[in-house]
Amino acid sequence: METVVELRGVVAVLSSFPALAGIDLAVHRGEIVLLHGPNGAGKTSVLRVCAGLLPIERGEGSVMGVNLRTQRESVRERVGLLGHSNGLYLELTVAQNVAFWASAVGASAQEVALAMQQMKIDGRLTNVKASQLSAGQRRRCALASLMVRRASLWLLDEPHAGLDQEGRDELDAILRTAVMSGATVILASHETQRSRSLATRVITVDGGLISGSES
């Protein structure tokens, strides 16, 4: 099975604080990997290293064959990271936000329509400004923007935050569909119970190290 993410003894530092203290991780295509652990354990840092945002100080890492030590910026076009903020333009409507990302990457109008339909932000929400959306609706809009970017590796930090029960079910279904169409998902979540049913593998992160793994 193709290895999408491979980290070997990775040490990463945030403002002189060792956020990751020698992580070993291999993620294969089609997996949904859940990272869980207490606050400050290093879950978000793992995602940021995989997204090419946080440099590796020691160890080796690659994402989709791209060396994270030497070419970490090249990996960004192929990964989609959704962090704590949604990355939306609050003065733009839902449709304009998704269309902006589509035009930035050269995606078609059909892809925009499909993403909006899948995230259920078409219809009455299409022309609503992002500033007027609920937290869950903003999250869906951000996910639709991620979809039109055609990312092969989805890195999601607390993706269920702000979503209602229906929204969470829809998100889980979208992640499963994305995986079936060839994507790989790594998500960090506090809501372990919720995400366990979705994940193909659960990895425990603590103190910047991986302390457990279960399938």
Partner: protein, 232 residues
């Protein structure tokens, strides 16, 4: 295969359309910046309540009002990027930084140029300046090259201050000294165009040439520095 040039062009177009759409949706330029610049021009007229003096200093007042208004537009241009982490999202997505720089600069230039046209009309009425046909052509040329320079330098410094704490006060401190050459050049060129203070129309073109050099330098520096700057 998509070349870098095609990517830059695509990202630039997406960013300029997005920024102008945000302005169209919010009408901040129309409802806040334009009235502010109008008030500045009127306050200048009150403060220098003498037709002779006003005609003499009209070019400087026009460009000072433009610079003050530009500070608000630049702040606004980057506030929309940071409000919900959109600039981070662009960076995370590996969006071509040169495309972002060009797109944001172009959007800023369009807004500044529209504002300058309004301020020119206000100056003609309030300060009773009467340029000749050649003077209008020279004023127009000055506005075009000065706007290009201001657009580039405004975007560069706006990006520099975007992530900084206290950016509202930091931006004027950084930006105003950097645009001083444009203020001087544009004021001298407009003085020549208005033939104010005994200046002759032909004296303006060398200043316009100098403004074009500034625009080129600011554009080149911005193109090189913007990517590493937003990365930090």
């Amino acid at each position: 295969m998509t070349t870098r040039l095609q990517t830059v062009r695509r990202v630039s177009w997406a960013v300029v359309c997005k920024d102008l759409r945000i302005e169209w949706n919010s009408k901040v330029l129309l409802n806040q910046v334009a009235p502010f610049s109008l008030v500045v021009m009127i306050m200048f007229a009150f403060a220098l309540d003498n037709e002779g003096i006003l005609q003499r200093v009209a070019p400087g007042l026009l460009w000072l009002a433009t610079l003050f208004s530009m500070l608000i537009i630049v702040q606004r241009s980057f506030a929309v990027e940071t409000a919900d982490g959109a600039l981070d999202a662009l960076r995370v997505a590996g969006t071509e930084p040169l495309g972002i720089f060009i797109g944001k600069s172009l959007a800023l230039m369009v807004q500044l140029f529209a504002l300058e046209l309004m301020l020119l009309a206000v100056a003609l009425v309030l300060y009773t300046v009467e340029p000749t046909a050649t003077g209008y052509a020279e004023t127009f040329a000055t506005m075009v090259v000065a706007t290009v320079g201001l657009g580039f330098v405004g975007t560069l410094y706006g990006g520099l201050g975007a992530g900084a704490r206290g950016r509202e006060t930091l931006l004027p401190l950084l930006l105003l000294p950097a645009v001083a050459p444009v203020l001087i050049g544009a004021t001298r060129a407009t003085e020549a165009a208005f033939e104010s203070g005994g200046a002759q129309s032909s004296q303006g073109w060398p200043w316009i040439g100098l403004l074009a050099v500034f625009a080129g330098v600011f554009g080149a520096v911005g193109a090189l520095a913007f990517g590493p700057m937003i990365e930090e």
